[in-house]
Point group: C2
Chain length 294, copies 2
């Protein structure tokens, strides 16, 4: 498998680039799924999270190409949270959904190797299709993850310009000839080109660029023409569909070049009845993003 | 409790700043602890890791102030790895050892909040004394961790200048008036000052600065006079004791200002008999660092 080819192939079939984030915020889980105290340390809380996420995953079958679990919200349940996540990743596979683990890991040498093995190889860990990673430690810290693109057909999304208000503190700082986030993009250019798929021409080495920073997105795209963009910040975080797909480009009948994530806007609709609200929010996100790429 | 006061108080009692890293590399675990295939997915592997680390922890009682488990090497065992880590953190407490979780987490808003809750509060997670975090996402991504310094007496170590060869790719890049790593240090200055302990004057907001970059260490120290340095790169990674404590300064009879980590050099001595090798390596590290701060 080539991650980018596989992902783009599925997106072409569905006609939209929506990725649904699995972010089980304990205080937002709907009443019908809640169990016991909902304190993170109680085993019943993990059961509630599992039941809720399983229902979401089942409802996403044949609707989206990919889901993005946020591992922090499973880690807050301790080891039981990772056990639940393992079950959910298996369920995604059974429902034919690709899985990007939002872990934002970054470490050195043999430790980075440990993370890459844990999450991008079959075995004890999760064996997901792709992972998000942090570039602060430099190129050698990314190597073990990038290697799994060739050796295991996995994908990697490197944080370049994140969607939070403070993302400029470091990422927008000006270097001699560019900003920090542009320097990160430039650091990835060679590997990105090397990892393009034979079918689609898109690379398994992607980047995270917030929907709320369109101008920065343009500058990243200039430097990384083949990179898939994982775009947070759509929906609950405020950006419009057109803005979210700004760095996509025309290809085979529709604009493509990444995925647009929505988590809370779909998982936790403001609606009396969760099922109705979820389906309506999912339909709306698919319509809006499908319209924006046509 | 105030983390920095507590840590420095213990270091003063022991006379050395050694921190032992708990990095259970599967291929390096000594023969006497190995069980079954030692593949990460086998439950016996987690048992072997637990037995090995428990033995290390017991041998560290009254010898060091603090240990630093590397969570990646537990995550590679899946949920069982986190279960083992939970048992080991409890064992550290029973042996009166402080615990810094080397997790290098960094994320935005409610997700960063999830990590901070998972690791710096009692509950489902580990409830360790301090954690390492990554600054790439900016100041707001650090806030939930820093808040636990005041609210829960915890500590935070922000990656500033890491010890790996590629650390310069981004961290040494030159901004208008300084480098990226200096900009990170400057970003932390206000909070660092705010979080100094009443007893020692050291701050619970610390930094990670590799022992192998002494000149950069000086520049971080200039900007953060009260920060505790968590110094990797001593021992197996090559730096001498004097170099590792370079940013420490004279105080109450000895030089102080941080902790110096050694993982593999102590855990995995090149020696036929593990017990003998471990004790000799531990003694030597303590002697060398104790000598360097006297």
């Amino acid at each position: 498998m080539h991650f980018a080819d596989e992902l783009i192939g599925r997106i072409r079939g569905l006609g939209h680039p929506l990725c649904v984030g699995l972010d089980p915020h304990l205080d937002l889980i709907p009443a019908s799924f809640r169990k016991g105290t909902m304190r993170p340390e109680d085993p019943t809380t993990s059961e509630a999270v599992q039941a809720f996420c399983a229902e979401v995953i089942d409802r996403l079958e044949k609707r989206v190409a990919v889901v993005k679990p946020q591992i922090a919200l499973f880690e807050q349940l301790g080891w039981r949270g990772l056990q639940v996540l393992e079950v959910l990743v298996d369920r995604c596979r059974a429902n034919n959904l690709l899985v990007i683990l939002d872990a934002k890991r970054g470490d050195i040498g043999s430790t980075a190797e440990g993370y890459a093995r844990a999450y991008l190889e079959p075995g004890a860990g999760l064996g997901v299709d792709a992972i998000t990673v942090n570039p602060y430690l430099g190129r050698d810290s990314l190597t073990p993850f990038i290697e799994r693109c060739s050796s295991h057909g996995r994908g990697v999304f490197v944080l370049v310009k994140t969607s939070n208000p403070g993302s400029g503190d470091l990422q927008d700082r000006t270097l001699a000839s560019a900003t920090v986030f542009e320097a990160v993009a430039e650091m990835l250019a060679g590997e990105c080109r090397r990892l393009v798929g034979p079918r689609t021409g898109w690379s398994s080495l992607g980047v995270v660029v917030g929907a709320n920073y369109p101008e920065q997105a343009d500058r990243v795209r200039q430097r990384l023409p083949e990179a898939l963009f994982l775009v947070p910040g759509f929906g609950a975080q405020g950006a419009a569909a057109e803005q979210a797909v700004r760095a996509f480009r025309a290809a085979s009948g529709a604009r493509e070049g990444g995925i647009v994530n929505s988590s809370r806007g779909i998982l936790f609709p403001v609606c009396e009845d969760w099922e109705t609200g979820f389906e309506a929010a999912l339909d709306e996100a698919i319509d809006r993003l499908g319209g924006a790429v046509r």
